[in-house]
Point group: C2
Chain length 112, copies 2
């Protein structure tokens, strides 16, 4: 329509990029500062090649940036706004869960 929706295309790509629990966890792990592939692999208990692939996805979409230091490659989130967006979405989830609980409380308090 109005927006040539090339932007929407990119926007969707970005969301798709975040549409994986592993990648979400990667971002969460990177909130605390940059980490190497090995660090991430160990922290999230994901095999290295798999981790590498997910990092590649995040890298291609520009979500993360790398810095090479000696033998290791350190990853970090490229734009803090990405973190902010994630926080917002998590808030949405929390609110949804809260509503859900209240509903079940109303509908079936002892609903085993």
């Amino acid at each position: 329509m109005a927006m040539p929706d090339r932007i929407s295309e990119l926007h969707a790509e970005l969301c798709k990029t975040l549409g994986s629990a592993i990648r979400i966890n990667i971002l969460n792990a990177l909130k605390g500062g940059e980490k190497s592939v090995g660090d991430l692999s160990a922290a999230l208990r994901v095999r290295q090649p798999n981790m590498s692939q997910h990092l590649a996805v995040l890298r291609q979409r520009g979500v993360v940036t790398t810095r090479k230091d000696g033998v290791n490659i350190y990853y970090r989130v490229s734009n803090p706004k990405i973190i902010q967006a994630c926080e917002l979405m998590k808030q949405v989830l929390v609110e949804q869960l809260k509503e859900g609980e209240e509903l079940t409380k109303l509908v079936g308090p002892a609903r085993r």
Copy 2:
């Protein structure tokens, strides 16, 4: 890890839900207020069954809510924070594009 990553699972689901240009456009269209399926279908030039499918996805994840009025069903975004999150991501995209332009300006100003 720390976070039982059940949340991460849901978070990823939410992102995946937004990982479609059509659904992004739907949300953008709903920024201006609730709209019926027919409205959306016409506005985005998407066939009705297909639109219905995308709306179902958004509904299942709780991104949108419905209100039935006579024969029509009106959709709206369930939580304004979702819009906010989208705005943030769009800002990220804009910044990325800007950086990209500057880079190409530096690397190859007359690059084809």
